[in-house]
Symmetry: C2
Subunit: 388 residues, 2 copies
């Protein structure tokens, strides 16, 4: 049943091969100082950086550089970014990159003018911003996180061994995002596949929760079926525009707040994956892939009806003459086959984890309560052991 | 394949049993003069009018009345509304009603300050507004049109025998909409069922077009399946909150621009239905229901693949051992059965049409080009004849 909620998503999207033209349109709304945020430099190699800078210059902007954003952006990097943004008197923070770069840009946008310690305020106390927020725009070069159309920002504090995500309200959403599927062509295969599973996991975290009849679940089944189909095409031919454009669009709608409206959600796979990442520094999507099936098989008895529905509506399993449990298990078997087919890492060993680390990972795992079973420490250990 | 497009939908939605609380939150953003727009008075009988006025008064607003908006709002009524809005120096136009009331409010919002003739400018020349636009908010009491989250406005000119819809840009979208499924409980059964089919038709008009692989089609399949399921529950028990809330949510997402992104669309069923309505004044959704199946069976050979996909993914038809055409036809048969089950009018005779009117209806029918077959006048006649 659809509960009480608000829906408001003010991010403007420019989608397609000509999407970068949207950047020029948007720039006229902002002052002349632009903090240009990007990652390790791949945007310089693939030419996207040059295209963006050319448009910025054409529109008379003064560009201040803030490169070197790492895949898991750190507290220290955010502090440095705030310093740069202040020195630049930034009127706009333009993120050119993937989810980490967008997440980082949002963290800087709410922290530049923050008088308190931003880490404590936003990521420990989960306060909302009270200071001026610098507007953020995104040019996306990698898909998965949905950060281009939501208020999420995940920041890592190595000193405290914490990686924490804050989902900010709509005032922190990017004002605009440029989504050109061709910009994702040069993403390395491993990252592309990891991103695809991240998208799938975002949907499943919201799907496997609740027992009501909710339109959101039907929308998610559609998104999943489209993702499964397009992923198989994209791994065979990463430059298949149709497949890459569908994947890009699914990523956005998987996590721009729509499909969670009126629903409870789980997010336990992400908690397990993030705990693994804190101990191994493995790629996000792969950590999710490695723990998913052991987790789902463990909780299946507590949500068997939904898992059976998933099998039929998403994986096309025929339910005739089978128990709900059999149908549900066939669905997960089909999912496993697909995961192997697209080349996901299906075990934690390959990601650098070993049995000795499990106790530590269990301790780092935040336990969620919205799924079909609230896990004990022992259950988490068991799931991680099966994921090795 | 997802083509180039922009997506921006700035309408804020308040959804659920407590949604009207959102009205209070929103009112603080606007000046004190509110033009309160409503229809034939059902909102006074069911108490929604009193609830709204109470909130307006609590927030210190001066309320100017503009009731009596008819199901197909006329040019004359819009002129009268502009006059009232000018006299009121309206800071906000608040529509309390169904799609017609929202459509009307939008027409007034772009016409109050328009120096030219609004009918000529917006509905004949399809110009965009250049004058100040008065903000619109909606409190929805009937679902179907999606007008609560889009720029659509359909106005009728009886003198010219024209009923024309203009889909305005995002500056004309309602600033906010209040969606309380309980407010739809008192809608008469015939109107509820008609609204359900209007929603279905909105989705199908966007679905039955194109041959590419597009995520939007998967989303639509999800929306359709949820609608089919909830409609059956709602006709049995109109006060089933779960079903009515799902139907309300589907109506919004069926026509708030999302599912048409990157796609071609058809809208031929609406053209046929509107032509019938111009000659009979029959209820919109019922005119669509009466012409749909003869139309779809006629164009099936030209889009058989999509119709077979529809049969399998929406109606659960098993394709094994069947030709595409057989599968496709079974899907339409399942649709027909469902339409009868929920009580739709399946023929034009019941809606007041007869054979003598067909030539006139053919002449009033606008021919669209985005579907699987561009119809000749003779084909239109044939479809209408089968719909009698």
């Amino acid at each position: 049943m659809l509960g009480n909620f608000q829906y408001y998503n003010p991010t403007k999207l420019y989608f397609g091969k000509d999407a970068l033209e949207g950047l020029g349109i948007e720039l006229s709304r902002y002052g002349k100082n632009v903090l240009l945020v990007y990652g390790g430099g791949s945007v310089k190699k693939n030419g996207i950086y040059d295209k963006v800078v050319k448009i910025l210059k054409q529109h008379g902007k003064t560009v201040f550089e803030d490169g070197g954003v790492m895949p898991n952006p750190t507290v220290e990097k955010v502090r440095e970014g705030c310093e740069r943004a202040r020195n630049a008197h930034a009127d706009l923070i333009l993120a050119v990159g993937g989810g980490s770069v967008c997440d980082y840009a949002k963290a800087v946008s709410v922290s530049e003018h923050c008088k308190e310690d931003f880490w404590q305020k936003y990521f420990i106390d989960f306060d909302e911003p009270t200071c001026e927020i610098v507007p953020v725009g995104c040019v996306l070069t990698m898909v998965g996180t949905g950060s281009e159309m939501n208020g999420g920002s995940v920041i890592t504090n190595h000193g405290q061994k914490l990686k924490i995500g804050h989902v900010f309200g709509d005032s922190v959403f990017p004002k605009f995002s440029v989504l050109n599927p061709e910009f994702t062509y040069t993403v390395p295969r491993y990252q592309m596949i990891s991103g695809i599973y991240d998208i799938m996991s975002h949907i499943l975290e919201q799907y496997f929760s609740g027992t009501d009849d909710n339109t959101s679940d039907y929308i998610m089944e559609g998104l999943l079926r489209s993702l499964i189909h397009s992923a198989e095409i994209a791994v065979k031919n990463p430059e298949d525009y149709e497949a890459r454009s569908n994947i890009m669009w699914i990523a956005t709608w998987a996590l721009n707040t729509l499909v969670a409206k009126g629903k409870t959600t789980d997010w336990m796979v992400h908690m397990l994956g993030q705990a693994v990442a804190a101990h191994t520094d493995a790629t996000h999507g792969m950590t999710l892939a490695a723990v998913s099936l052991p987790y789902y098989r463990h909780i299946l008895p507590y949500g068997v009806q939904k898992f059976a529905r998933y099998a039929v509506n998403v994986w096309g399993v025929c339910a005739e003459g089978k128990t709900e449990e059999q149908t549900a298990l066939e669905g997960l078997a089909a999912m496993e086959e697909w995961m192997k087919k697209i080349g996901l890492v299906m075990n934690l060993k390959e990601l650098g984890a070993n049995k000795e680390m499990l106790d530590g990972i269990v301790k780092s795992t935040v336990v969620m309560t919205g799924g079909y079973k609230v896990l004990s420490a022992q259950e988490i250990y068991g799931i991680l052991e099966k994921s090795l």
